[in-house]
């Protein structure tokens, strides 16, 4: 394919000028009206710091960044499992299963996520985790186990909070994934069900061999979009003291008062993460299309 020549017309120039003017005006306002002292030089040390024992180690901002990634990945795994189960229930012939999945989706989607976070935190985090003794169990683990828990989840003392945050986000996003899975399966032509039925395949065999493999290809793009949503939504659990990126930002701001530098940095980190994920999602989608059967 030939690359299209980019033509810039008067309107484009005006828009670019307007954006630049806006930016300059903001900086001007901050500098003059607020008499703000910019101090970017302090930011890098909050990303990585030098430790006499371990060399360069991630500091608060990067710790938060990694926490956000771990939180998003585990929540997504939980949400996909939950969403697939509920999505299958939603198209099931059994009224009972449909009732369960519909109630789940409707309750989650009609309550503000922030409220859900508090409810789940006080129920799961405060009650269930304590009753199950999750905190004590983790504390009793050997140091090696704790080390790996720290790598893959969160520092051992914060593990129960991390777990309840994952469950909260997983339950919340699961409701949206339920709908993605349901619509993916329902988008498969009726003829596919009919043909596999006529060949003697049972209901579950029709699902496993014929419908799901086709549905997955249609589900993947919106699922990738949902993963990006999860990364962004994970900021909400900062209110229950999960030390992810947004939480660390608030902490740092309280300590240094470098409001603009910190939030600009955090914006850039979130953007870097989600933009990278959108690129990856686009790449996967393209590869599917190229390798796929849609000749």
């Amino acid at each position: 394919m030939k690359k299209k020549l980019i033509k810039i017309n008067v309107l484009d120039v005006l828009i670019i000028l307007a954006v630049l003017a806006m930016g300059s005006w903001f900086v001007f306002r901050i500098n003059t009206a607020l008499d703000y002292q910019w101090n970017w030089s302090i930011i890098p040390q909050y990303m990585f710091r030098f430790d006499a024992e371990h060399g360069w180690v991630p500091n608060m901002l990067m710790q938060g960044f990694f926490m956000t990634i771990k939180l998003s990945i585990w929540s997504t795994i939980l949400a996909v499992i939950l969403g697939t189960t509920m999505g299958l229930c939603k198209i099931s012939g059994s009224l009972y299963k449909r009732l369960i999945s519909n109630s789940y989706v409707e309750i989650i989607r009609n309550v503000p996520p922030l409220v859900l976070v508090f409810i789940f935190y006080f129920f799961i985090g405060d009650q269930i985790m304590t009753v199950l003794g999750v905190g004590d169990t983790v504390r009793s683990f050997s140091d090696t186990t704790k080390f790996w828990i720290n790598i893959f989840f969160a520092p051992a003392p914060q593990f129960p909070e991390f777990l309840s945050a994952v469950i909260t986000l997983g339950l919340y996003e699961g409701a949206y994934i339920t709908e993605i899975i349901r619509s993916g399966i329902e988008s498969i032509e009726k003829g596919q069900w009919e043909a596999s039925y006529a060949l003697g395949l049972s209901k579950s065999q029709q699902m496993i061999h014929v419908v799901l493999p086709q549905a997955v290809q249609r589900i993947l793009p919106p699922l990738a979009g949902q993963f990006i949503s999860i990364i962004k939504d994970s900021a909400i659990v900062s209110v229950i003291s999960i030390q992810e990126l947004t939480f660390q930002g608030m902490e740092l701001m309280a300590a240094t008062f470098l409001t603009f530098e910190i939030w600009i940095t955090i914006t850039a980190l979130y953007f870097f993460l989600t933009f990278f994920c959108s690129l990856a999602a686009g790449w996967i989608e393209n590869r599917y299309r190229e390798s796929g059967y849609l000749a």
């Binding site: 009919e194 596999s196 039925y197 006529a198 060949l199 003697g200 014929v210 059967y293 000749a295």
Partner: protein
């Protein structure tokens, strides 16, 4: 082989598709069903393997009643092959995998056994060179021949054809009809819903003319096309010839 006794079928929107419909098909007989659209032909075929539920009456295929026992239903689905107007090949599988699937999953054959049968069938429908292609890479006629091979792979005793050539370009109809004619010659019991009068004349042992969910007239192809008795039949034939 197939006994259909007084079946009734109405859709939930109130349209009656089949009215007290009865038909008996002998072993090795090729029954061609013709009639205007909306006369219940496709619905009849779908009722025969349980894709549509009948409201009243009974269907018995090769001694097995189509009732609510799962075992009987599965047995009938295995014994009755079906070919659809829109092919309904599985787009995510190659031709080979399409035909292997039910052999392995339902008939529990090994992959090697299934492949052997598949290649035999593909040779039979004259498309063996396309075993590794995906359905989207084939022409309509080729796809329909694969669909026929896929149904035959279950070694069915009865084959149902639901307007198998209606979605094809004219130059591809012949290749599919040839496969169907060969099947008929080999002694397959077939019920064929079609608009191809040439096929009906040549391969049909019996022609059944349906309108409004009922049989208007039936007879051998010779008698049916040359000396139709009913006025409705004459009217229909005059419209298509």
């Amino acid at each position: 082989m197939i006994e259909i006794n007084n079946i009734n079928k109405a859709f939930t929107n109130g349209i009656t598709a089949l009215k007290n419909f009865s038909l008996t098909v002998q072993r090795k007989e090729v029954v061609v069903i013709i009639g205007p659209s909306g006369s219940g032909k496709s619905t009849l075929l779908k009722c025969l393997n349980g894709l549509e539920e009948i409201d009243e009456g009974s269907i018995v295929i090769d001694g097995i009643p189509l009732d609510h026992q799962k075992k009987n239903r599965l047995e009938i689905r295995k014994e009755v092959g079906m070919v659809f107007q829109s092919f309904n090949l599985f787009p995510h599988m190659t031709v080979m995998e399409n035909i292997n699937l039910a052999q392995m999953v339902v008939r529990k054959k090994s992959a090697a056994q299934a492949q052997e049968t598949t290649m035999e069938l593909l040779t039979k429908v004259d498309i063996a060179s396309k075993a590794g292609s995906y359905p989207a890479q084939l022409s309509g006629g080729q796809q329909q021949r694969v669909a026929i091979a896929r149904a035959l792979a279950m070694m069915p005793k009865v084959m149902l054809f639901d307007e198998a050539t209606s979605a094809l370009d004219p130059e591809m109809i012949g290749e599919v009809l040839d496969v169907m004619k060969n099947l008929a010659k080999e002694g397959m019991t077939m019920i064929v819903v079609t608009h191809e009068m040439g096929f009906a004349k040549e391969a049909g042992d019996r022609i059944v003319f349906m309108a409004d969910g009922e049989i208007v007239e039936q007879g051998t192809s010779e008698k049916f096309f040359n000396n139709p008795e009913k006025e409705r039949t004459k009217q229909f034939l005059s419209q298509i010839f």
